[in-house]
């Protein structure tokens, strides 16, 4: 991603990654998923999105995405027998090379935010290195970057 962090509604520079999520406001339009798959793969292909909307129609949906600092205990890290998941500066990231595809982190994640790709490697949101592509797409601000939200932006 180019441009200063926060320029498109992301977190301000230096802020820790994390989302503020208000599922009541989610319209299920999937723009976050469209943006995510585009930024990660160059195509609109929703299974590649690192954020997903779990429909509970007609009740309010749930957003499946990594909460980073907002996740108590970050159980995915300890669950990984290959020690492929680590947290640095608040970024919980998966080392794709080290991942064995065992699926333990999928089970451990309380937000159903980790999935296996076609090569059986675990993947999840990486917060686009500070400027998440999904956030500015959310017209209702059901999804906001934590730093920006704290500043009231």
């Amino acid at each position: 991603m180019s441009g200063p962090a926060g320029a498109r509604g992301g977190a301000p520079a230096g802020a820790k990654p994390g989302f503020v999520i208000d599922p009541e406001k989610c319209t299920e339009c999937e723009r976050c998923m469209i943006a995510c798959s585009l930024v990660k793969t160059g195509l609109v292909r929703l299974p590649d999105s690192r954020i997903a909307i779990e429909r509970r129609w007609p009740e309010t949906p749930a957003l499946q995405v990594c909460r980073f600092g907002g996740c108590p205990g970050q159980p995915c890290i300890a669950s990984c027998p290959a020690e492929a998941i680590a947290c640095r500066d608040g970024y919980v990231l998966i080392d794709r090379e080290a991942c064995t595809g065992c699926g333990a982190c999928l089970e451990a994640c309380p937000f159903q935010a980790i999935r296996l790709d076609e090569e059986l490697k675990a993947f999840k949101c990486d917060f686009c290195a500070g400027e998440p592509a999904c956030v500015p797409e959310c017209a209702t601000q059901a999804l906001r970057a934590a730093g920006a939200a704290e500043e009231g932006a």
Binding site: R31, A35, S37, T41, L43, L46, P58
Partner: protein
């Protein structure tokens, strides 16, 4: 493939239960997609005199170059078929998620032909089709049918279905798709005649575009335009975004243009009880959007039915609050919501259903129509719900009413027919031709009958232009018809054009497909499609007499707010003459050889059968 299109349609022969991928020929690809594909396929392959419910009729479901991309407000898919309601060519649209899923399945559309030996559910998975027994859901409503398909084919499947009205051949049966509707013209009856109860689509392919950077820039620019519109208090799209399409009823009522009591009156004293704001106040839970749409005009309401049970309804849409509300003198939001649910359950167009019920209620009050055990009175809950149910079942008087307002009324003579608010047997949309002269012309000349999607409604109702004037309306209507036909090739939501500058469409198109289009060329395609539809309709037996409004439209509106409004027959006919001239059609509404040549449609001249 070219950019965002796969250049592949799935051809399904239901009679032999076979399917094959069909590479889109270049000549069809030039029609862009959506409505362009559907109309050309029908004109090429279905003789205009074909019985709409015969196996020889075809149903084309298609999407376009913007479907499944990041461009906002492009969720719709298009169905084109020969209409059992009008007997002419039909195009209808539903939002939701089905269109994008078709793209993800590697298809630009599906063409159904023939008739299945048994009732089937169709499943399309990444371009491959399978047939499944529909008997577990036969006779079921649309919501249950679609829930069953999701259970059977996976929760990620996107679906469409018909209800009992489609199974039984109600002429204005609709097709539902997860609370969005292919509403108009009876496509549900065509699907029913083919013995297709539902379709589920699952796709895992990625959709790209020809020029990704330019496309992303355009999408971002368009998103900003929409965000600005949504933030404006009096922008129509902004109002839809906050309270849904029902937001405008107060405005329309105030202008004496809210069709009330079978179009006799132009205002309804209980409008404020059934408009978008009333539903928002009483029943709002949250807004729900179609695929990729930041406007989220769908309002999900939770209410208590008259029997005390808790229930949900996405809507009602504005048009339904007219057809099942003011038009029936029904000011009860719960009865209206239940009537809407009945239409969903049975799978019927709320507009033509409501307008037909309005006519029946008037005839009932005049003593011309009777139904044992059912009072026929305006505003009466049991009358409204009872008639809708009888239509859905084609039981009792419902069998007559299921033919459509024009055909039902024709059984009772001229006066009764003049009170049936229809064009080409398709019920009026929520607007009063007497108040809005451009809309009058649009209703009369629409190829699919009494259509509001190609009428200058916004400009007339908001007062941008004088709604009572005739001057300039012929050119205005022609322009809208051509432009909207063009954007229905993409397939854009009708509301997208309210906000998006016209010159953006060819830019989007080029960035998506790599094919260069000028704005004039793009709108010219819309005009070609309009003329092709017209030729089909002429071949089906239509004439100038079908570009006509019911007699009621030429009588003064009753009630205090609209007493001056009247449509004068001579002026209306002169307007129609002017419109035909601008179209390059003769006085009977037949495109001249010169017009067909200019549009490159010479080889379709014989379609008109003249």
């Amino acid at each position: 493939m070219s950019g965002s299109m796969w250049d592949t349609l799935l051809r399904v022969d239901l009679s032999s239960r076979s399917a094959q991928a069909w590479p889109v020929p270049q000549e069809l690809a030039a029609c862009i997609g959506g409505m362009g594909y559907g109309v050309k396929i029908l004109a090429d392959e279905v003789p205009p005199r074909t019985d709409p419910l015969a196996p020889e009729n075809k149903l084309a479901l298609s999407v376009g170059p913007l479907t499944g991309t990041q461009a906002p407000m492009q969720p719709q898919s298009c169905i084109v078929t020969k209409s059992p309601l009008t007997g002419g060519i039909l195009n209808c649209y539903a939002g939701g998620f089905l269109g994008a899923e078709l793209k993800f399945a590697g298809l630009d559309g599906i063409v159904l032909e023939g008739r299945s030996p048994d009732w089937v559910l169709l499943l399309v998975e990444d371009g491959a089709l399978s047939f499944h027994d529909a008997s577990p859901v036969l006779g079921q409503g649309t919501a249950r049918t679609e829930a069953y398909m999701k259970e059977r084919f996976g929760p990620g499947a996107r679906t469409l279905s018909i209800g009992r009205a489609g199974e039984k051949g109600v002429a204005y049966a609709s097709i539902f798709s997860e609370t969005r509707t292919f509403g108009r013209g009876g496509a549900g009856a065509v699907l029913g005649a083919k013995r297709v109860k539902g379709l589920a689509v699952r796709g895992s392919r990625g959709v790209g575009v020809a020029h990704p950077a330019e496309f992303a820039r355009l999408a971002a620019e368009n998103m900003e335009q929409l965000a600005r519109a949504c933030a404006e208090e009096f922008n129509l799209v902004g109002m839809f975004s906050r309270v849904g399409t029902g937001a405008g009823m107060g405005l329309v009522n105030g202008r004496g243009a809210l069709a009330t009591r079978n179009h006799e009156f132009g205002s309804f004293d209980r409008a404020a009880e059934i408009d978008g704001y009333a539903y928002a106040r009483k029943f709002y839970t949250r807004a729900v959007a179609c695929f990729g749409c930041p406007v989220h005009c769908g309002m999900l309401h939770k209410f208590r039915r008259a029997d005390g049970s808790e229930s949900w309804l996405r809507g009602p849409e504005y048009e339904s609050t007219f057809a099942l509300g003011s038009e029936l003198l029904n000011g009860d939001p719960v009865t209206l919501a239940e009537a809407n649910q009945l239409c969903e359950e049975y799978g019927m167009d709320t507009l033509t259903a409501g307008v037909t019920v309005a006519w029946a209620l008037e005839m009932g009050e005049k003593g011309i129509l009777k139904e044992p055990g059912l009072p026929l009175r305006f505003g009466e809950r049991s009358s409204i719900l009872g008639l809708l149910e009888r239509i859905g079942e084609r039981r009792g008087i419902g069998d007559l009413l299921a033919r459509g307002p024009g055909r039902a009324a024709a059984e009772f003579g001229r006066a009764a027919l003049g009170a049936a608010m229809q064009v080409k047997n398709s019920g009026f949309a929520a607007w009063m031709p007497r108040r809005m002269k451009g809309t009058a012309l649009a209703f009369a000349t629409s190829n699919r009958g009494a259509c509001h999607k190609r009428a200058p409604i916004g400009a007339e109702i908001t007062g941008q232009i004088d709604m009572d004037a005739y001057q300039g309306k012929a050119g205005l209507v022609k322009g809208i018809q051509d432009r909207v036909n063009a954007i229905f090739t993409l397939v854009s939501c009708r509301f997208h054009e309210f906000v998006t500058p016209p010159e953006m469409y060819p830019r989007f198109l080029e960035a998506a497909t790599g094919r260069s289009f000028g704005l004039e060329e793009f709108e010219r395609l819309g005009e070609r499609i309009w003329n092709l539809e017209k030729l089909f309709n002429l071949g089906a037996g239509f004439s100038r007499a079908d570009d006509a409004l019911p007699a009621r439209c030429f009588e003064p509106i009753k009630g205090p707010s609209s007493e001056a409004a009247v449509l004068e027959r001579e002026k209306f006919e002169a307007l129609l003459d002017e419109y035909y001239r601008l179209r390059g059609w003769d006085r009977d509404g037949v495109p001249t050889p010169g017009t067909l040549k200019a549009l490159g449609l010479e080889r379709y001249a014989s379609l008109a059968g003249r």
